[in-house]
Each structure stands twice: as structure tokens, then as C-alpha cells.
Subunit: 334 residues, 2 copies
Amino acid sequence: MKTKTISSHNNRSMSEQYRHIVERQLASLQYPSSPEELYDPISYILGLGGKRIRPVICLMAAELFGAEIESEEINSVAIALEIFHNFSLVHDDIMDEAPLRRGQETVHTKWNRDIAILSGDVMLVQAYDSILASKNKNLEALLLQFNDSAKKVCEGQQFDMNFENLSKVSIEEYIHMISLKTAELIACSLKMGAIAANASASDADLLYEFGLNLGLSFQIQDDYLDAFGETDKVGKQLGGDIIANKKTYLMLKTLELANEKQKADLERSLNYNDEQKVISIIEIFEEVGIKEHTSDLIQEYYEKSIKSLDQVKVDDARKAGLKQLAAYLMQRDH
Amino acid sequence: MKTKTISSHNNRSMSEQYRHIVERQLASLQYPSSPEELYDPISYILGLGGKRIRPVICLMAAELFGAEIESEEINSVAIALEIFHNFSLVHDDIMDEAPLRRGQETVHTKWNRDIAILSGDVMLVQAYDSILASKNKNLEALLLQFNDSAKKVCEGQQFDMNFENLSKVSIEEYIHMISLKTAELIACSLKMGAIAANASASDADLLYEFGLNLGLSFQIQDDYLDAFGETDKVGKQLGGDIIANKKTYLMLKTLELANEKQKADLERSLNYNDEQKVISIIEIFEEVGIKEHTSDLIQEYYEKSIKSLDQVKVDDARKAGLKQLAAYLMQRDH
């Protein structure tokens, strides 16, 4: 399973003000001029854009508790999460042998493997630089959370690679993997925003839970859209996960629900050409009722996430932005 | 140029007490049991041994200023440097496609490339974990120094890789490269020990200078021994750098000193078989007087390093350990 970068489809207005702060901060990052092979890939990958979801939700979480999000104390923490995310993309892309990232050449394709390893390493160090540069008074708590999440993201990537070589993966194992690989950094971004803004430990933990469940909901929706999305909204070919034999929730749950005939059909479909394979497997998905099962699970995690946000001890009015963003990510606003 | 791990030849008594603390601390590190593909390589590489020079000199620097080196506050900082060093070895070995490290399989050989990338990443995070675990009151200063040096070590590796593809490298560029790739972490280890022990900024800087020049002296000596060492002391085949066409100080200085005939001889030697090539090139090295030039340079950096140590504002008696260790590293005590 290759988890995906959270990316939008069209609506861009919602979190514009936060993204603006993030872009300005990213643009202000300065790099040594030499060795250029080490630093050019960093400005390249950070310049490829994307929704900047992690720093944006970090800023939004901090604002929830009244922090001045234009201050270095907050936005340097937010930027660290974007730098870390891009570090993980650069290294993951080597492992996945991915030629493209956001429609552009990946670092190891544009330069080479060694440069991708080494510039990724420097980005990880830069993420710590950025946290330090915040001079936030909760530095130690921020770093402890960051370290914990950083290791979990690596664990998620390792489990994901392991799954490629396993004939059997349970749904529980899959959920655990995406909770580490995708949801953890969303949760961490929100919690670090809260910590940076002096939130109470219980509020910081609630935001973490909000992010973790939102991240799970989002990733499973991403799996869903791969099979059932509208091509023009998804912005890519349907059935990519199916063609690549990925063990997504849809596939694992279908294997659980399928009768003997459907299992045999599924087995046979693996040998079809790509187009036929996608058609045939989506048909089996539909037969076992995977649409409803998946939608239910997405909804379940989404509701769980909102429940945590609801419990955070600040005025409900202040939570509108995060709720809107969550709804937007789940494409419930368009 | 592949720079080398600082390793001893026989005398082991000198810094035994410090190494004992380091080994005990390393042995106490705990890893999650899963995913084992991520954590097994970490205990494997840290378990391969070595002189533990970086944490040892960190402890010695801290002791210089009266710190209790058995305390978590100090030894967790020291261990971070060993973890970082091993992180860099794991990633460098991928880039160098090295099959062996300390006579055992490298991580990417024993497991695979992707596991080596990812477990290296986790080690870098663990180095920060270890600094945090120290709960040292100078945490911010320690992290700032660590970040700065970490980036420089990566820069050194990048320059080293660049040099492989350059036809012309100046001696100045070579010295700059080894100062980043090898000497920086020695200097950093000493300075972080000083910072952790509340040394004054000027004393911390003097220890940094001591380490930087000692590291340069050591690396150039390592180049020297590759050509002129006694096989049983060096513990490996002579002429490895020559066979691999490495642009060491010896080669660069010889190119500078050689007359037209010697340059032509050098050029011709590149096509000889390994044994003939080593004999022929060492002959040219000797002709141009490289032994004296190199010994002078080693001596120059060594004296510079001792001069910095001499200026540190603590009792000279307290400096005996570091001086002995420096002499030992330079093989001046046996």
C-alpha cells in the first residue's frame, strides 16, 4: 500500500490565510550555497507545493488556544512538520522507486539515490533546527512529541514495505500501519500546535486523537476514491491500487467477505490485463458490498475525530475552522 | 576518498573506564520489538564495537570541568554522538556500496537498502532522543551545536562524493572536506561534553578547535598509513586508497610536487595491475618526498590541536587524559 499525500481537488479558499503564513515562512528558509547537490534538492522538494496540511493544522491548533500564529514561536514549529513530511517523502520515494512526486520528478530521479538519501538526512536535521528556532518555551515537550511521532512514521513505512511481501495481512494490521504512516503526523501536527500554544495536556491529547482518527478516515477515503472516485476529482487514473496489487482496506475487507466463487474470481483477475483487472475487481468489490462497508468505516473514524475535537475545552466557535477543514478534507463540503 | 572509522590497533587500556560507561549505556538502550526489520539493524550496528572515540572524548571533556560522567545528564549526551556516528556509517555504506564494516556485513548487505535507509533515519531520531533524555540544563545549546555539526557531516559526505567525479581537487578543498566529514564530529563531541558540563563558551570553543585539528591530523595520518603503514599495525592491506584511485592528501600533494616525468609515470601507473600500481605509485610518492610533507602536516595539525587544549582554563593536570588520548590516537605512545 502506498499511502498518499493529502492533496486537494479544487476548493482552495478555506485555509488560505494559514497557507500564506506557511509559504512565506518556507520561502524565507535560507540554505548554504555549497554543496549545491545537497541543498538544491531541499528547496526543490519544498517548492513543489502541496496543501501544506500539516503546518496549516498546526497553526490552527495553536490559534485555538489564543496563540499569535504569525510569531516565530508558533510558525517555526509548524514549518518543522512540513520539512519532516518532505524528508519522509524523499526517502519513501527512493524505497518505492517512484519516478514522480506532485507531477514532477522525484529527488532521486532528478539527481540520484545518494543525493536523495543525504539531502533527506539534512532535511530531518533542519526540521529540528526549525523547532529550535521557535525558541518556544515548551521546547522539550515539543521535541519529545516530535521524536515519538518521527519514529512511528518510520515504523509505518517499514510495516508498509513488509506488507508487500506478506501473503496475508489482517485489517487490524493494515489500520495499525496507516495510523503510523499517515495519521500519526497529522495527529502530531495538531498536538504540537497545542503544546506550542500552552494548551493543557488533556486538550493537547484530544487534538492528537482528533488528528489520528481524521487521518485514518482520510486514508481509507483515499483508498475508496482509488476505486470509486470520479476521475476528474481524483486527478489520476482510477484503480491504481488495484493494478499495483495493493493490500488496501477495500481489498482486505473484500477477501474477508468474499464467498468461494468470488475468491476464485479475484484470484483469476490478478492475471488479467490492467484495464480488465480493474473492471473485474471493482465488480467483485461491489458484489460484496464494499462501498457500504468502507463508507461506514470512514464515517466511524470521522465521527470519532469530531467527538475528540468537541471535547477540547475552548469555545465551540473557535473550533469552526478545524471542523471546516476536516469536512473539507473528507470532501463533505463539495 | 573514503574516510575511515577511527580504530585502534592494540593498546586498549588508556580510556577503558570511559569506554566501559559508554558500553553500559549502549547496552541499556531499549528498542520496540516490532517492526524488527527496523530495530534489529540498530542494535546490530551499535553492537559491532569500535573504539567509541566520540562518546569517550565527550565524557573526558565533561570531566575536565568537574562533571559527574556517570550521570544521565552527561552520558546520554555522549551516547547520542555514538548513535549519530553509526547513523552516518549506515547511510554512507549504502552510498559507498561497502560490503563490510568492522569486518562484518554492512546493514544494507545483511538486510537491504531500504531497511538501511529507514533504520538509519530512526537512529538519527534516537540521537536526539538521547540528548533529550539527558535532561541537561543546557539542552538548547547542546541541540544547536549538534544540529550544526550534523549538517556539516552530511556536507562532508556530499563533497567526498563530488570529488570522485572531479578530475581536479585542490588540497584546500580536500582539507575542507575531511574537516567536515571526519574532524567535525570529533570537535562536536568535545564541545558538547564541555557544554553539558557548564564550561564557559570560550573553553567549549577551545575544545572544539582541539578536536577539529586533532581530527584533521588523524585523518591525514590515516591516509599516510594507507601507503606507509606496517600491515600488521594497520590491520588491512596497504595501498587500498591507491588501488581505489582516491584523491587523498598524499596523491594531491604528489601531483603538485611531481615533475613532468613523474606525472607521466603516475598517469601510466593507473593502468597497472593492483600490486604493480601500489608499488609504482608509492615509489613516486617517495621520490617527491611525500613522507616528509605529510608528516609535517600531521605534526602541524597535531601541535595546533594541543595548543588549543593548553589554553583551556582548567588545571593542566586535569588535561592529562585528553592529551594521552590524543597522543595515543596519533600512535605516538607505541
